[in-house]
Symmetry: C2
Subunit: 101 residues, 2 copies
DNA sequence: CCGAAGCGCTACGGTTTCCGAAGCACATGA
DNA sequence: TCATGTGCTTCGGAAACCGTAGCGCTTCGG
């Protein structure tokens, strides 16, 4: 995997999550399973080929898994999702800041 | 900014952080200011042109700022960094899992 | 049984992004 | 003056991504 040469696991993780749509796909799955096409619609303009690539990578990493209903987060994926409220709160403050100049 | 059309700030943030090296640059600045070339060396193979692009984006977002010693995280950047221990811990467990099969 | 519709996924050409190497303008120190 | 180090830029080629189309399959209504 890209970026894993250093032997430091977080480098590989930052690499995996630092690809287009990877963070977003996890976020879209926050409220339960979604089908491939629902996921594609949720991510506005993502190309189906790229979505397929990201899903394959996230599944290989054990973050996402296939389900009868489509795709869902694994327990490990849920652990990652637990970090998102912090991101969300930060983004809210960020928007406030910009609005006020 | 890309991905901000939805009006949901987190989308713009996920978009910003989901670019190559963006997450990594923040991580590299965790222990204090680094010069441009130190940052480049820390990120192994990053191209100087891309590093310059990421720094410009992160500065525009108020996450990173220029300092006499080079570049450092802003207070807002430090808030984002506060989420990294969770990522690091996850990555550690991830590596453990892989090692055991 | 047959067509329509929906599914996950793939193929492919064009565009954007990134890499790698070289080098510029400037500052510092010998 | 000359070497060295800095932040940063340029540019050609490679890789990633987008947009569209469509395949093979299943489901459902007629």
């Amino acid at each position: 995997m890209r970026g894993s040469q250093t032997g430091r696991p977080i480098m590989a993780l930052l690499d995996l999550l630092g690809r287009r749509w990877a963070l977003r796909v996890i976020w879209e799955l926050r409220e339960g399973p979604l089908s491939f096409r629902q996921l594609q619609a949720g991510c506005e303009a993502i190309s189906s080929s790229v979505l397929n690539d990201r899903l394959a990578e996230l599944r290989a990493a054990g973050i996402v898994e296939a389900a009868p209903e489509g795709y869902r987060l694994t327990p490990e994926g849920e652990e990652l999702l637990a970090l998102y409220p912090g991101l969300d709160a930060w983004a809210q403050r960020w928007a406030e800041r910009d609005r006020r100049g």
